[in-house]
Symmetry: C2
Subunit: 264 residues, 2 copies
DNA sequence: CGATCTGTTGATATCCTTCAATTTTGGTGG
DNA sequence: CCACCAAAATTGAAGGATATCAACAGATCG
């Protein structure tokens, strides 16, 4: 399942490049970030609630999720983390984590020490801008999640989940247009969508009977993307944050010029 | 209802000061931001979905909310915006808004043009850091919102809402410890919590019968904060982002020193 | 190749919604 | 200041979407 060494940073580069053009130096720096990875088994904790955040990480391969557990065992998953996602960039500002992160399947992550991250963002204005942009993107995803949980029924939630995952994987250069891996269990999906595993199962069955999707051996094929997206009713403006406005590019150029003038 | 002129920036200053110490210069710059306000009637649009974000704003007085409306009229409120909140600081990175913002009651806002904001954050490292911190805080609030919608029942959601609002108002220096204004309707609360107005009403009635709260003329008194917080079961780590880590303070000092060396 | 986790199905329960009517509140103009 | 009107809050009754419980089948993994 591991991506060939040397190309493991592809997803991250691809993701950030969606936003603005990265120089060869930027790309090299990102590659450098992810050249030493740690391999974790499935269902392992990466960060626990209450931890003092010390470092960010890039998920290189596999899958993880952010979640919180209530005292009676109920679990809410905030989001799935896929290859190319970079997590907790700004967490250094936090005293303690208010949620946990754990792997879904066997997963490789590249940890980035706080100092290294700071140096990176200082020396690479475009990476800095792109990282803030990923934070904005995460916020947009969270907003949509709130809408789904608050005002959509089970069918709409599942459709939304499938669309979002396909969309995210494809922008990271993973998965084909309509065929993706679903490594998480239906219980995981239930905890993301605020449903029970049983009900998630029934909705998926339903979608299969309607020939909207095919699902076997954790492989999902979207047979009728159009209709699934229709059920999900994603905002036409959702995730249209595909390119940096001109002003951002110019500001990055300015900072790069400034840096060349005073190396310290 | 309007705060006396000259003190209208208090809430913002108070909020940011929770995070790190602001210099007199910083405070003056913030006061300068909010010295010209625009007054809007109740139930008025501030920003509409699809708009190209041009500027941020500070809510000086009143109340507003972020929301999205689905095609069949269902509405989901993402959050209420209270005096001292600063919105869409990073939105300049966005092409289009994926949600709307509108007032709940008559509201005063101070708009901040993009250039002015950029200048502000460039000239005031501590304000810059504090603004990013507010973004982190908003993210934490969003996460808790997701947990509430996904995994809490109606009683828990309402309790959580009351606690969060009391907590937020008090950190902005608004409202007393246990008495706050609830200017929004029960329908608004329902749209925040993913419930129906009828059910919100029943839960509130219930809380009153149990002597947990008193509610009349849009004024809420928390009679038993302890128990309400217990029902809400907020994470012990929720919103403990009360002070900047030492590293952030040092970095701000460094940037300030640097700025004194090269004024441009 | 057995043990355990995951997916599937059916029956029943419940929390919340929906619908509808009434009362109360709050705002507005006379 | 009062009368009026619309909006909001309140209450009851009935229905529905999803949860819960339980059992079994199928997949996965050491």
């Amino acid at each position: 399942m591991n991506v060939a060494a040397g190309s493991s940073h592809q997803a991250l580069v691809r993701k950030l490049s969606r936003f603005l053009r990265l120089s060869r130096r930027d790309v090299a720096a990102l590659a450098d970030l992810t050249n030493r990875v740690r391999r974790l088994p499935a269902r392992t904790s990466i960060v626990a609630e209450g931890d003092v955040p010390q470092s960010a990480f890039v998920l290189v391969d596999g899958m993880a999720c952010r979640f919180r557990i209530l005292s009676d065992g109920r679990r809410q998953i905030m989001s799935f983390i896929i290859p190319g996602d970079i997590c907790d960039v700004q967490a250094a500002m936090l005293k303690r984590m208010d949620h946990s992160i754990g792997t879904i399947v066997a997963t490789s992550i590249a940890t980035i020490a706080r100092d290294r991250l700071l140096a990176l963002t200082r020396q690479h204005p475009r990476i800095n801008a792109a990282l803030w942009w990923t934070a904005l993107q995460d916020q947009a995803i969270q907003r949509e999640h709130v809408v789904a949980l608050g005002r959509r029924n089970a069918h709409e939630r599942v459709a939304y989940f499938l669309c979002e995952l396909v969309w995210r994987l494809s922008t990271h250069g993973l998965g084909r247009r309509d065929v993706i891996e679903l490594p998480m269990t239906q219980a995981d999906i239930a905890d993301l969508l605020g449903l029970t595993p049983v009900h998630v199962n029934r909705v998926l069955q339903d979608f299969r009977k309607q020939n909207l999707i095919a699902l076997e051996r954790r492989q999902l094929r979207l047979l009728d993307m159009e209709r699934v997206a229709g059920i999900a009713e994603l905002s036409p403006h959702y995730l249209l944050l595909d390119r940096a406005p001109e002003a951002i590019e110019l500001e990055c150029d300015r900072q790069e010029r400034l840096m060349r003038l005073l190396p310290p």
